[in-house]
């Protein structure tokens, strides 16, 4: 086996990554950039990165995803990509007329030490009418797609917020990586509080739009740039997702620079975490929760009571991004499903602690793994005898090997239709997940039953 020194650096038994449970940083940055109105992502590196990320994102969102590239050659890999970046910016601007270009670096440009900040400032001197240029440093040898996602949000806020901006929206809601339906749910929740708000990013339309009447060069939708510019004028920021590093937390930046109170919350999945989200909204807006949501909550509790016998005492494997897994574990704990194995692909110092704090009713998971992969999960799963697998499509083979149902959540989902619009957040999200989970368990029970009765 591998050398001992190397082995100690990882939480999995192997030095190599065997069936990865994480993607690379530029991918996350590109999706965040797609959530800004008039913004086109541009990857600074090999064209293959843009192609792979487009190809992969499209298989989940089933939507066109344009990502430009600075197309490094062997020469640029040796002498630097300044000229390539400048040509790429010229061409992208000419074709798309974007208001923002979101530049994400790659392992290639970072390895050779390309100083993109300097390239940008030099470019702006030559092209005074250039669109706003945002730079997210996203070397794929550091962190995962989630780090790239948060990095891009931080870069957007840091670069665009304008201290001189006139009045902004009352509430900043900065969301972790959630589905397009989740973003629409956040819109519904925020609008119902009757105050103006900025939702960043907002790819609810740009990555899940309708059929076109006319060709759309830039997709409709996204957070308006003017709103981002004025985020420093808001009364409060709510940041959904806690896995973000403090120095790359856009909400923390707004707190430091503009004195805006920050509510740092888990993704609102399940009753408990959604309650906390609504409490924060009530406090930040000074308005009470509209009765619509109180009724949704009540309906959810009613459903928990109706379906409890199907899920109580079951065991599930949950994997994916840290924030998704944490919130999902909290919800599962609420409905009586224990999670003996929870896993996330990226290294994290906070994962164990967060999971333990979120399991309030049942027992804490035996295995809480960060920096792990699907093969490690499969090897551990045998001893755990789970009854359900919860997470993205890449873990389907766990369910197949273990002969148990798989409820698809989060990202990526490319073996079901509608993967991009799975609703997870809020009371209605919890209701949807609850139905999905109970139904998956009921179907498994029904198929295994001798009688084949339709009352189950």
């Amino acid at each position: 086996m591998g050398s001992e020194a190397l082995k100690l650096e990882t939480n999995h038994a192997y030095v190599s990554n065997r069936n990865s449970c994480k993607l690379c940083a530029p991918l996350g940055a590109c999706f965040a950039f797609r959530g800004v109105e008039g913004c086109i992502p541009l990857i600074h590196g090999s064209q293959g990165c843009a192609t792979y990320i487009r190809r992969y994102g499209i298989s989940h969102f089933r939507e066109p995803i344009d990502i430009a590239s600075s197309n490094f050659t062997e020469t640029s890999a040796i002498f630097g990509g300044k000229q390539n970046l400048s040509t790429a910016l010229d061409n992208v601007t000419r074709q798309y007329k974007p208001s923002v270009v979101g530049i994400a670096s790659t392992c290639l440009s970072e390895t050779i030490g390309d100083n993109v900040d300097m390239y940008i400032s030099e470019y702006k001197k030559i092209r005074e009418d250039a669109p706003a240029l945002i730079y997210a440093a996203t070397p794929s040898y550091s962190g995962s797609h989630m780090d790239g996602y948060h990095e891009a949000l931080w870069a957007l806020v840091k670069t665009l917020t304008d201290p001189e901006a006139e009045k902004g929206n009352a509430i900043n809601l900065i969301s972790g990586f959630v589905s397009t339906e989740d973003l629409r749910e956040l819109h519904a929740i925020l609008s119902s509080f009757g105050l103006s708000y900025t939702l960043l990013p907002d790819y609810s339309e740009s990555l899940d739009g309708g059929s076109w009447e006319d060709y759309q060069k830039m997709p409709v939708g996204g957070t308006p740039v003017a709103d981002i510019k004025a985020m420093g004028k808001a009364e409060a920021t709510i940041y959904l997702g806690k896995a973000v590093k403090q120095e790359r937390n856009a909400g923390y930046y707004l707190q430091n620079e503009f004195d805006i109170p920050l509510y740092s919350l888990d993704l609102p999945i399940g009753i408990e975490l959604t309650d906390r989200f609504f409490e924060a909204l009530e406090e930040a807006t000074g308005n009470p929760m509209p009765t619509y949501w109180a009724k949704a909550r009540s309906r959810l509790v009613d459903a928990y009571i109706d379906g409890h016998k199907y899920c109580s005492g079951k065991k599930a494997i949950v994997y994916g991004d840290e924030d998704f897994v944490c919130a999902m574990v909290s919800f599962l704990d609420e409905i009586g499903i224990s999670t003996p194995l929870v896993a996330t692909g990226a290294p994290s110092a906070s994962f164990k602690k967060r999971i333990k704090a979120l399991v309030r009713n049942g027992e804490a998971p035996e295995e809480i793994l960060d920096d792990t992969d699907f093969e490690t999960m499969l090897e551990l799963a045998g001893g755990i005898k789970p009854e359900l697998v919860i997470g993205n499509s890449k873990g389907y083979y766990l369910a197949r090997n273990l002969h148990i149902p798989h409820v698809r959540c989060s990202f990526p989902i490319h073996d079901r239709i509608g993967g991009q619009r799975v609703l997870h957040l809020g009371y209605r999200g919890a209701l949807h997940l609850f139905d999905e989970i109970c139904n998956a368990l009921m179907q498994a029970k029904q198929e295994a039953a001798h009688s084949g009765y339709t009352y189950i």
């Binding site: 065997r18 590196g45 192609t51 590239s69 050659t73 390539n84 076109w212 060709y215």
Partner: protein, 545 residues
């Protein structure tokens, strides 16, 4: 806006596209967008191909790593593949091409659903990743004890000074029973995935083919090069060639295994499906081992029949030829029933194909079989020879991007070179009009004045739809939704939209039915809501009228 394609609109289209480009780009694209003016000698115009995409232009192309790991080696099931680099590339190439495979037994090795990566971190980018790569190889051996291990380099590998070939040699010395080899397929090399194909061909030729002189049993043994078993194509081809009495020794690389590769030089004939991705291997095997090769095509029922007969005629056995003809007659009877039915509905409709290095050519056959006309086509990553035919190869200018891909110098193997056919036999073949090393390219098979576009980009695709209104467009997943959003059916020819097979006779039947379904789908009619009266719409969705 015009509703229907009319011949002659290509010139206007080209002019309008070019008008918007800045002068340098205009000059480049004007040589890549070509009206197929075929002259009296049957010669096609020159096209500018295999040149680097301009930065900032939304290309369909991928990278060298994708061509090497994803395309050529990906479909092989029992070479354990390790991606050496940060995590992204290994993840993105994990089963996304949907190649299929059938291990010999339930317990036979199949590593295709398995994605191993060294997942390089910042420390290794600074201090080097060789130690981690060696550890990964140790782990691969402990886990699977595979017959062979391939190491695939991603962008940073060469730059941080990792020598994957030295690591391969060292680890092979440690595990002498395992063949370990590395590929320098860093993503920035070359202009597209095509560079990676070449890198893969070279290594497979030097380190894999020729290690075992044991032939498979069978009288008429041949290989198929450049068939990747998307959607089960190789299974259909295997079914048909077996029925004819041929012995398919190895496919590079759909439904293949390592043992077939190492003994692939024992056959008497190499046939080439995808010329672009694998012609290098065919040429090198001919020089070293004396195996003649010719181009075949199993996409299209008529093309399949023609290819089967050519293979049978090469072996020259009367019974084989008779049996092959019998199989063709049997299969074509079934094909004809569906073809006639579908053709009645699809005749006169138009298609545009922008895909691959051979698919944009091959699939024109299938469309023609149901009476559909290909009004525009182009490749993503092909070279001039794939457009204009191999005769232009000596005149191709090698630019800096291609120069860094090694060209191997190959000589005849002193012991194993064996001429498969005598000079007299080869002379007779030629007299009979039987061509070897014979790819004549896509453009010669297309209609005079048809539109040919290399490395089509998003902007041009939009214009193409606006001007030419094809009834269906075939490309890849990156183009799929941009086409469908505009109300035009789209068929992916990389992944087949997870359908297939489309090769051979049964594949042709599947394809006819699929195209019939797509071009007659009523769903696009729903895009216009009852309250919308804009006359623009009926024009835009004119295909449905």
């Amino acid at each position: 806006m015009e509703d229907q394609y009319t011949p002659g609109m290509e010139e206007d289209f080209k002019a309008e596209i070019l008008e918007k480009y800045p002068s340098k780009l205009k000059k480049k694209r004007s040589r890549q967008i070509v009206i197929n003016n075929i002259d009296d000698n049957g010669d096609v115009p020159q096209i500018h191909a295999n040149t680097r995409t301009t930065p900032g232009i939304l290309t369909m192309r991928g990278c060298s790593y994708a061509g090497c790991k994803g395309v050529v080696l990906g479909p092989t099931r029992d070479i354990l593949q390790i991606t050496h680099g940060p995590i992204g590339c290994g993840f993105y190439s994990w089963l996304t091409r949907r190649n299929q495979t059938r291990p010999e037994t339930e317990t036979s090795a199949n590593y295709m659903p398995y994605a191993m990566s060294t997942d390089l971190q910042e420390e290794e980018i600074i201090f080097g990743g060789e130690k981690k790569l060696k550890a990964a190889i140790d782990e691969a051996v402990a886990l699977f004890n595979p017959k062979a291990i391939g190491i695939f380099s991603t962008c940073p590998v060469g730059l941080i000074g990792d020598d994957v070939h030295a690591v391969a040699r060292e680890m092979e010395a440690k595990y002498p029973h395992i063949n370990i080899f590395g590929f320098s397929c860093e993503g920035y090399k070359g202009v597209s995935q095509s560079a990676g194909h070449h890198v893969a061909n070279n290594k497979v030729f030097t380190d894999v083919v020729g290690l075992d002189d044991t032939p498979k049993e069978g009288k008429f043994r041949f290989n198929i090069l450049g068939e990747y078993n998307i959607g089960g194509d190789a299974f259909e081809i295997e079914r048909v060639v077996e029925k004819c009495g041929l012995t398919l020794h190895s496919t590079f690389s759909g439904n293949s295994n390592y043992q077939e590769f190492v003994s692939a030089h024992t056959v008497d004939l190499n046939t080439v499906m995808c010329h672009r991705s694998i012609n290098y291997l065919a040429e090198m095997m001919e020089t070293k081992y004396g195996i003649p090769w010719f181009k075949i095509n199993f996409i299209g029922a008529d093309a399949t029949a023609k290819s089967l007969l050519k293979i049978a005629q090469f072996f020259g056995d009367k019974d084989l030829i008779a049996q092959t003809q019998k199989v063709i007659d049997e299969e074509m009877a079934k094909v004809k029933v569906v073809r006639d039915e579908v053709k009645a509905r699809c005749e006169g409709k138009t298609a545009a194909l922008f895909v691959g290095g051979s698919r944009a050519h091959h699939y024109q056959e299938l469309f023609a079989e149901i009476g559909m006309k290909t009004i525009a086509a182009g490749y993503e990553f092909a070279h001039r020879d794939d457009y204009e035919g191999r005769k232009v190869m000596p005149s191709i200018v090698v630019d800096a991007d291609s120069r860094n891909i090694e060209e191997l110098t190959v000589t005849a193997d002193p012991e194993r070179y064996k001429q498969r056919k005598s000079d007299a036999e080869m002379e007779q073949f030629k007299k009979d009009g039987f061509a070897f090393e014979d790819y004549t390219g896509m453009m010669g098979d297309m209609e005079n004045k048809a539109l040919v576009i290399d490395d089509l980009n998003h902007y041009e695709l939009e214009k193409l739809i606006e001007h030419m209104h094809p009834d269906i467009i075939c490309a890849g997943i990156k183009e799929k939704y941009v086409v469908q959003k505009q109300g035009i059916p789209m068929k992916q020819l990389h992944s087949y939209d997870y359908m297939g097979p489309f090769a051979g006779f049964e594949g042709a039947i599947n394809f006819y039915k699929e195209i019939d379904r797509l071009v007659h789908s009523k769903v696009f009619g729903l895009t216009k809501a009852p309250w919308e009266t804009s006359p623009e719409l009926s024009g835009l969705y004119g295909w449905n009228a």
